[in-house]
């Protein structure tokens, strides 16, 4: 029941081969590796994964819209178990000014277009999950925002996992190129339908050309029967701006790696994270921001909400290269623990090799403020609603940075819903 293997251009076959070799050599990481100290993927390593069936007769459009609300129908691209689903997608998204296409079609129709581009940023050499993704290279999304284009509506990429009776895996591959002076938002939306064990192993490569402004949202709201591994690599050129939102509401075991490199003067990167832990879920966010040239800015704010026996990890690495003077880097990790059993490990790692820089970092771990809770209750708001309101308020510092209001609303609502569902 594996997806039909299409014929790929030679360079893509080479990438697959390289991925296979690297994965073979590296093996999946163990907790002996510093970067994986808190996160064990032993359960993934010992599972026999098969590609999921891309057929999706049982997923109706209303069902899809429920899963990935709010739907941005202007440019909607849906993938089921990793494979592009034309019938669920909005094809006018193919309008030439936008330039979103399924990877499978680009490889088939313009075999040379992505040679030397795809895989240029992702690190299959040291990252086993990326090597695995590369071994399975076949489908995903290619987003090319033409120079000077200003997109009013976000590009909505939906990756729907529909597990079968056996554990299924998908390897979405996303390439985003924001042309010079363009302005756009891309939402990678990971959802699931049905029960069953599954793994999503996504790799995203982003390049932001001079003066471009890109918002990238990875919204992960899969069922807790799923594991989710992602790697994101972004390069920013002169005077460009990238806002990356890593929003993790679902998944049983989640690991997100984000590596952002500021390659041009005047570039600024903004990394916002929101994660919710319930039950025994485990969410690990590792970020690296590399200030490679002078006069660049980065801002990082991650907000974790952890309940029950859940566990969160935040590791934020900031590199300032020797000649990257006038770097301005701020990092903040704030966490709300809703139960005694919940845990967070938060760690900054600053590697500053220039002297004329501003770098700051801070982390907080707290509980719901009892005075705030009483204040709300003393005005007639019941305890459950008051807690939900305060939790929502806590994450709003990060969600407020989302460009689209309906998405912001939904993220906050869904977070509260999931928190309440976990206890109903």
């Amino acid at each position: 029941m594996s997806a039909p293997v299409q014929s790929l251009p030679g360079w893509a076959e080479d990438l697959r081969r390289e991925g296979a070799e690297r994965l073979q050599e590296l093996g999946l990481p163990t907790t002996k590796l510093e970067a994986w100290r808190y996160t064990s993927v032993a359960s993934i390593a010992k599972t026999a994964w098969t590609p999921g069936d891309p057929r999706h007769d049982d997923v109706t459009r209303p069902e899809l819209e429920r899963l990935c609300f709010p739907v941005f129908a202007c440019h909607l691209f849906v993938f089921t178990n990793g494979v592009f689903a034309a019938d669920l997608s909005t094809l006018r998204a193919n309008a030439p000014q936008v330039g979103v296409r399924p990877l499978s079609r680009v490889l088939a129709e313009e075999p040379e277009a992505l040679r030397g581009v795809l895989g240029a940023q992702a690190d299959a050499k040291t990252r086993a999950f990326t090597a695995w993704n590369q071994r399975e290279l076949g489908d995903g999304a290619v987003v090319r925002i033409p120079e000077g284009t200003d997109l009013e509506e976000p590009i909505h990429l939906v990756f729907l996992s529909e597990p079968g009776s056996e554990p299924t895996v998908s390897h979405p591959r996303i390439l985003i190129q924001a042309g010079a002076g363009s302005r756009a938002s891309v939402v990678e939306d990971y959802v699931s339908f049905g029960e069953g064990e599954f793994l999503t192993n996504a790799v995203t490569e982003i390049s932001v050309a001079p003066n471009a402004e890109l918002e990238h949202v990875r919204l992960q709201r899969e069922a807790s029967t799923g594991s989710h591994i992602s790697a994101l690599h972004a390069d920013l050129e002169r005077d460009s701006r990238l806002a990356c939102h890593a929003i993790t509401l679902g998944g049983g075991l989640v690991r997100n790696d984000a590596e952002v490199t500021l390659l041009g003067e005047g570039a600024s990167a903004h990394l916002y994270g929101v994660f919710l832990g319930t039950g025994r879920r485990h969410i690990d966010n590792h970020t690296t921001i590399d200030h490679a040239v002078p006069h660049t800015t980065s801002e990082e704010l991650y907000k974790g909400v952890l309940d029950d026996q859940s566990r969160g990890v935040f590791h934020g690495r900031i590199i300032v290269r020797p000649d990257a003077q006038k770097t301005d880097a701020r990092q903040s990790s704030k966490n709300l623990l809703l139960s005694r059993g919940a845990e967070i490990d938060t760690k900054p790692q600053l590697e500053i090799r220039a002297d004329d820089v501003k770098c700051s970092h801070g982390s907080t771990i707290g509980q719901i403020d009892p005075d705030a809770l009483f204040y709300l209750r003393a005005r007639g708001i019941d305890e459950r609603d008051a807690r939900a309101l305060l939790t929502r308020a806590f994450v709003s510092e990060a969600t407020a940075e989302l460009r689209f209001e309906p998405l912001r609303e939904r993220v906050e609502e869904q977070l509260v819903e999931l928190l309440e569902e976990a206890h109903s």
Binding site: F374, Y375, L376, R377, A378, R379, G380, I381, R392, A393
Partner: protein
């Protein structure tokens, strides 16, 4: 409306109230005065249901119902309102959203129709005018970055919107300049009616020039040591609290 009998209460583990008897009828305004540490705020906390205040003995009846048994939100919906001495700042929750949620919780409890956004805003604007509250503040987070006076006005604004039956004002005058005091007092006075009772807690007589009480009580060491008419406040102003608490003047 409010019947407090033999009330003993702890703040944390510390016994503070040592047997309070107090009866406030509908339409009455009672002032509760006393030196710092006499238990005024603990009494306010006990009436509003503050979790850190534990009632150890005695009873509080509100309209014949046992207030102590009710969670704070139920007391609020039943019409008990505490204007906080130190209003809490809550980043990320807008004032207007909060006030609408609070009002609708109360209306729902009374089986009255809830207000939609438009009707609510109209009502809120009317009340904002009354306490001279800038609407821009209402779109901000609850009390976040508010001055002391703005926080107190916000408390009074909430009171005028929620229209409680029993209003407890805990040192609403503290930290206010004379103009802010006048605004706050006029907001409070606009609420006076035969159906509503008020308990005005204050350290100073100053507020009572604006909100003239029917009865004045003096609290010392967790007990009411003297009650009288409004002239008692003036006497306290002139003589201090020492003559009532047994300390040297």
């Amino acid at each position: 409306m409010l019947e407090i009998k033999g009330l003993h209460a702890n703040a944390g583990d510390v016994p503070i109230l040592e047997g309070i008897d107090l009866s406030v009828g509908a339409g009455e305004v009672h002032a509760l005065m006393g030196p710092n540490g006499s238990g005024k705020s603990t009494l306010a906390g006990a009436l509003a249901g503050k979790p850190s205040v534990t009632v150890t003995q005695g009873s509080v009846l509100y309209d014949g119902k046992d207030l102590i048994e009710m969670p704070p939100e139920e007391r609020a919906r039943e019409g008990v309102f505490l204007a906080f001495q130190y209003p809490v700042e809550i980043p990320g929750v807008s004032n207007l959203y909060f006030l609408k949620a609070a009002l609708n919780a109360r209306l729902k409890h009374q089986d009255l129709p809830e207000l939609d956004a438009i009707d609510f805003l109209q009502l809120a604007r009317e009340k904002m005018k009354l306490v001279e509250m800038d609407e821009a503040l209402m779109h901000r987070s609850i009390n976040e970055g508010f001055s002391g006076g703005e926080k107190k006005r916000n408390e009074v604004l909430q009171m005028t919107v929620l229209e409680p039956r029993l209003a407890i004002l805990d040192e609403t005058d503290s930290g206010l300049d004379i103009d802010a005091l006048r605004i706050v007092a006029s907001g409070v006075n606009s609420m006076r009616n035969p159906e509503r009772a008020m308990l005005v807690i204050t350290h100073y007589q100053r507020l009572l020039e604006y909100i003239v009480p029917d009865v004045v009580h003096v609290l010392a060491d967790g007990r009411i040591v003297k009650s009288g008419g409004k002239e008692l406040a003036l006497e306290l102003e002139a003589r201090g609290y020492g003559w009532l608490t047994g300390e040297a003047e």
